[in-house]
Assembly symmetry: C2
Homo-oligomer: 360 residues x 2
């Protein structure tokens, strides 16, 4: 029904990418449903061990023979600053006490090894690989090309898009400030790179030749056509899929997204040490008053993991991470297939409507 340079590149029917949201949301069923419906499903694999990534990829392959993607975090391993970490841990202990849990004796690993994860992507010949937070080494990118894997990078500014294009990616996800979850910013301060999708997409399109995938605040067929009008070749939607039937998101997380308003999200470093947009919680507010420096990702992410897990178990959303974009009012609980197909149908209706504005 739609043909764009991106649908041709990855061989999908609709220019709709389901964002590779990490943290258990993108179940094999969700990913396969999106791909089977004509979009591009994506495994959010940032936090997956190489073994569980392999298992998940194989589960998706069982459920679809259509193209799908894997999304990973490109993270600089930095040695944690012990003093900074201990100070944060003492602050977090107050919350742990309230939740009735104890600080873990030791954190063995702050994040998964990107090298081991990418090896699984190569071994399994995943059709599409997308990444965020930076740019993989030229060696990694060469291996991906060699395996004929389509590679998508994430940019939040024109300069980042230019760097990605120069690195040889096949297409660029342009993340506007509306987007939920982690900011992909790697070329400047994340707080400076909060540019709205309406402004960002055409500015990037004017500077790169590869297809652009618009993301941030796109929720339905209106956003899809708006993005194509701005020069994008496809859209990436995250928040819309968080609440869908196949999503692995916690029930309370889904409920919070479904009832939130457009002005109830904010950018925070509180949960992971990296800027991310989510629904305002007591934990964010509490961390606003933290007098020290929040340790950078992935350290803070590892430090708060037990708190988030305990809060989920205790059904206390105020200490869970409720990542969501600014389009929250447009979420409805449907199947992933319904989201993809209704988005495409609505897009056709929007095109008809636009025709009505022409009276030459």
């Amino acid at each position: 029904m739609f043909t764009t340079s991106f649908t041709q590149l990855v061989d999908i029917q609709y220019p709709i990418v389901q964002a590779g949201m990490a943290g258990g949301i993108t179940t094999p069923k969700l990913v396969a449903s999106v791909s089977n419906a004509g979009g591009l499903g994506t495994i959010g694999a940032g936090y997956l061990t190489p073994d569980s990534l392999r298992t998940t990829i194989r589960a998706v392959k069982e459920l679809t023979n259509r193209p799908f993607g894997v999304n990973l975090f490109v993270v600089q391993e930095t040695l944690p600053n012990e003093e900074e970490m201990e100070r944060m841990n003492r602050h977090l202990d107050l919350i742990r006490e309230m939740l009735g849990i104890e600080r873990r004796q030791r954190i063995y690993r702050y994040s998964e090894s990107f090298e081991d994860q990418i090896q699984v992507v190569l071994d399994e010949h995943v059709p599409v690989f997308s990444f965020t937070f930076g740019i993989p080494s030229q060696e990694v990118l060469k291996h991906l090309k060699h395996h004929r894997i389509v590679v998508l990078g994430t940019a939040t500014t024109v300069d980042e898009a230019l760097q990605l294009e120069a690195s040889g990616v096949d297409a660029i996800v342009v993340q506007g400030s509306e987007a939920g979850g982690h900011r992909g910013t790697f070329g400047t301060s994340a707080m400076d790179a909060l540019v709205g999708t309406m402004a960002l997409v055409p500015q990037v399109v004017d500077h790169v030749c590869v297809p652009v995938i618009a993301s941030g605040g796109i929720m339905d067929g209106r956003g899809l056509i708006a993005s194509l009008a701005l020069g994008a070749s496809a859209v990436q939607m995250g928040t819309a899929f968080v609440v869908c039937v196949e999503s692995g998101a916690h029930e309370l997380y889904k409920e919070a997204v479904l009832r939130s308003h457009e002005d109830e999200t904010q950018i925070t470093f509180a949960y992971s040490g990296k800027a991310a947009r989510g629904i305002r919680t007591k934990f964010m507010q509490d961390m606003n008053g933290y007098p020290g420096k929040i340790p950078p990702y992935p350290v803070q992410n590892a430090l708060t993991q037990d708190i988030r897990q305990a809060a989920a178990k205790q059904r206390n959303p105020e200490y869970m991470s409720l990542w969501a974009g600014q389009g929250v009012r447009l979420t409805t609980n449907r199947t992933a297939q319904a989201i993809v197909q209704e988005c495409a149908q609505e897009a056709m209706a929007v095109l008809e409507n636009l025709d009505g504005h022409r009276n030459l």
Copy 2:
């Protein structure tokens, strides 16, 4: 060439509104050129005395017989806190010293009287009246209706749009976070109401019945069609017109906008006490370190006026207010007529292009 509910409402050819930017940008020539080109020109009259507003309206009428608008600020008069003000003034004295100017002995008026300004709008039978920062009294709105003046309010959230619709406005300007200049927020904290245009427009459209005018990051025919796709009936563009030939903006202000990048603006309270987006300056940075509370609008605006004026005279843009939205890379120095007509032409080309995505 275009027909929307908004073009019919105000009887214009193209669904393009030139934003009523205050501070000398919207010369009669600019306003009339936009209207003569088929859009809706707007006098940014927030800072104009009733007398100069009357003179400006008459000058516009000399130059066009097409509809045009006047934009005013709906401001709650608050008594300034003398202590807060003196503390700020002592801080500003350091900047005054650097610029070689002295603090004014007394400020006779913090802002113009809205009542006196609106009387001129009524007397002069201005075709369109738009406002921001709040909602005028029912009495004022009744007088406007009685004079058959089309009334446009400004919203930055769904709730504000609902309040505006309930007050009886004819259409609503929906201001996304990309927009340059002052935020129109009146129903919540301005920092909470920074919702991107892509996300905000469809959420408002779903909740109101009056025509919606999208604003924030819209720079050309791509943004125009994108906005119509999102359900808007027109767009409002400000930054695009700041740099045009007829604009009264200071030459250095125009140059700064023309060379800026999408990530070089920020929201600040420094200049006026009210949240506004502009190109980052030394003055903003300096005020970031101010330990006290910035006096609210219009007090801070009156306090910094001499500094902004001296900086302009001395050709020092770092202490001028350089209001601009996040679409700055898309600005080019053209006539206002060229902006309107090229936007409409590009919009038709975008529609053709979108047709290409359909292969039913």
